[in-house]
Amino acid sequence: MSRSNDPPILEWTREGDCPVLVVSGTWNRTGPVCEIRGEAPDQPPARYRCDDLGEFDSTLPATMLALIRQTTGGAAAGRPKPESKSKPDPDEDAAGVTLDGLPDDLRGLMELALGVAERSDAKSPVARRRSLGQFLGQTSQRVGAALLGVIEFVGLSVQSLGRLLVGRARFRRADLWLTIQECGVQALPIVSLISFLIGVILAFVGGYQLAGFGAEIFVADLVGIAMVREMGVVMTGIIMSGRTGAAFAAHIGSMKANEEIDALRTFGLNPFDFLVLPRLLALVLMMPLLTVYANLVGILGGMLVGVASGIPAVLYWQQTLTAIDLTTASLGVFKSVFFGAAIAICGCMQGMKAASSSAGVGQATTRAVVASITMVIVLDSAFAAIFTVLDI
């Protein structure tokens, strides 16, 4: 009989023409790793010898299943063929794999494991290794597809806006109001904090430099122009990307994972009108307001620093007003409309494209934030170039 601490061993031998698998030792997942001896045949074992088999846990059937799959090239098993009217031969349970000579408990487990054939074409293709060439090819295809996807999504958004204009877009007004609150009022605290600090930083850095020329008062110009042209709108865009773009992607993505979007479709509700349109509208409406607010708070931050360094508040304010004319003031607000659209589209698009799982939602959220921050910066550079050419 078996002794209790023998190492686990699987050994291939032959009896006449038939391969035989000798199973021995104690199989324990905290014990030693099993040893496989002898040369594996190209057919499954015809019988087993288990004279020296001690106690075993799942490691034994797992190893045996792997071995049997190897010898049959993965095609092992399958339930008894449906045509066979007779009771399946008790020794030939699984399409040519015999389990003769196994103790009853092990045999039962192996019958279960071999009971349903491995579905080879169901394996995920991702698992296969790729060569560098394939990798580059597939990557460029993916990038191309992604670009097409963006263009298509923008096209769909425009169509959706068209339906809105002719009054044929169906969405819940309540959703629009909720989203407006969500990306308007509720964003005020963080927008206030960041813009205020940006104003303060600009004033500190600029004030220090300008003091060298005895031109401290021009801090007001510097802060004012920087805020209303660039910093106010860009910072608001980045905040809204991380806050609202991510929320859009996560919400729509989890709706997709839960088949909620399919449910909209089968009621004849266009998911685009229903989900993307209110979010797009809300953000396009709220971004300019947030931007104006951010500009004011930023100027306030600068003024605080100015006052602290001895410039009278009234003087600072008047200097700011002379520095900023209406055109300058409207540039940032103008850009904010485009940033809002870009953030909403990136967020919603990643949500709609998300893989239907909780991991997919996480990925979509990350992608949405990265894509919308990138879009904000890229659009801003484009506007900078355009405004320079137009000399505004």
Binding site: G78, R79, P82, E83, K85, D121, A122, R170, R172, H251, S254, M255, N258, E259, E260, D262, A263, L264, R265, T266, F267, G268, L269
Partner: protein, 271 residues
């Protein structure tokens, strides 16, 4: 009512008793995810007022078939007809007249998670009818009462159990009194009594509204209690195993896998 099983290789005729064009006809349908073929050459008819069961082992493609029937997936090959009109050939943006006649309950329930149960059932009414708020509320309460969810109107889907989610999903599917009701495993996760009630509900709906019901289920009790017709999807061959009334299939299906399935794995001698 219909004749015994028609396996695809033997005969492709529709089940007897459907002289009128079938409510739904599936012709040579092949379903695939990319290169992974789920089922090939499906071919069957669903008559008006049928309670038609799609059955088969888990993972064999029942939900996938349902999603093809309602147009959420495009077939790799073959077509789906409603009342003789080609649904597959209709471009997706002109399918609204078909879709308006469907009521669908998804396997996961798929209730809109940001709306209460009442709002879920009421949303289609709000969008597509001219009912006033009071009338809508009454209809919603009635539909929720039908599935035994009175009192839960103002709960959110995350606040009720899985089985209750499913029942609310059925109530939502019935919201617009659809001609054709598609239910994906409505009985799964229900206790025996609710499950029984559900069978009752489905029968009554069919009888009183004249709806056609397509159900994915593998609950034998409910299959034999309510199904008038069924298709069996065979995982091994990836084709349909048999079409016909389940009682007859249990006794006389040519395909042993079908008999095994309907007898819970116990082979009965075929006559």
């Amino acid at each position: 009512m219909t004749r015994p099983s028609a396996t695809p290789d033997k005969t492709k005729s529709r089940p007897a008793g459907t002289a009128a064009p079938a409510r739904i006809s599936v012709r040579g349908l092949t379903m695939a995810y990319g290169s992974f073929v789920v089922m090939k050459d499906l071919e069957f008819d669903i008559a008006e007022r049928d309670i038609f069961v799609i059955m088969g082992g888990s993972g064999c493609g029942k939900s996938t078939l349902l999603r093809h029937l309602i147009g959420l997936h495009e077939p790799a090959a073959g077509e789906v007809f409603f009342d003789g009109e080609n649904f597959t050939a209709t471009p997706p943006d002109r399918r609204e007249k078909f879709i308006r006649r469907f009521g669908v309950m998804y396997q996961s329930g798929a209730l809109w998670s940001s709306l209460t149960l009442a709002e879920n059932v009421g949303l289609p009414l709000e969008e597509f009818t001219t009912l006033n708020a009071r009338q809508r509320r009454e209809l919603v309460n009635y539909k929720l009462a039908l599935v035994g969810l009175s009192g839960y109107e103002d709960y959110y889907p995350s606040q009720v159990s899985g089985g209750m989610n499913k029942r609310a999903g059925i109530a939502r599917a019935m919201a617009m009194d659809p001609d054709i009701l598609f239910l994906d495993e409505p009985g799964a996760g229900l206790d025996p009594l609710s499950s029984r009630r559900l069978d009752d509900l489905i029968l009554r709906l069919r009888d009183s509204l004249g709806s056609t019901v397509v159900i994915v289920t593998h609950e034998l009790a409910s299959i034999f209690a309510i199904a008038t017709n069924a298709v069996f999807l065979d995982t091994d061959t990836r084709r349909q195993g048999a079409v016909g009334p389940p009682d007859e299939l249990r006794q006389r299906a040519d395909n042993p896998a079908v008999r095994l399935f309907l007898n819970r794995g116990e082979e009965v001698p075929s006559d």
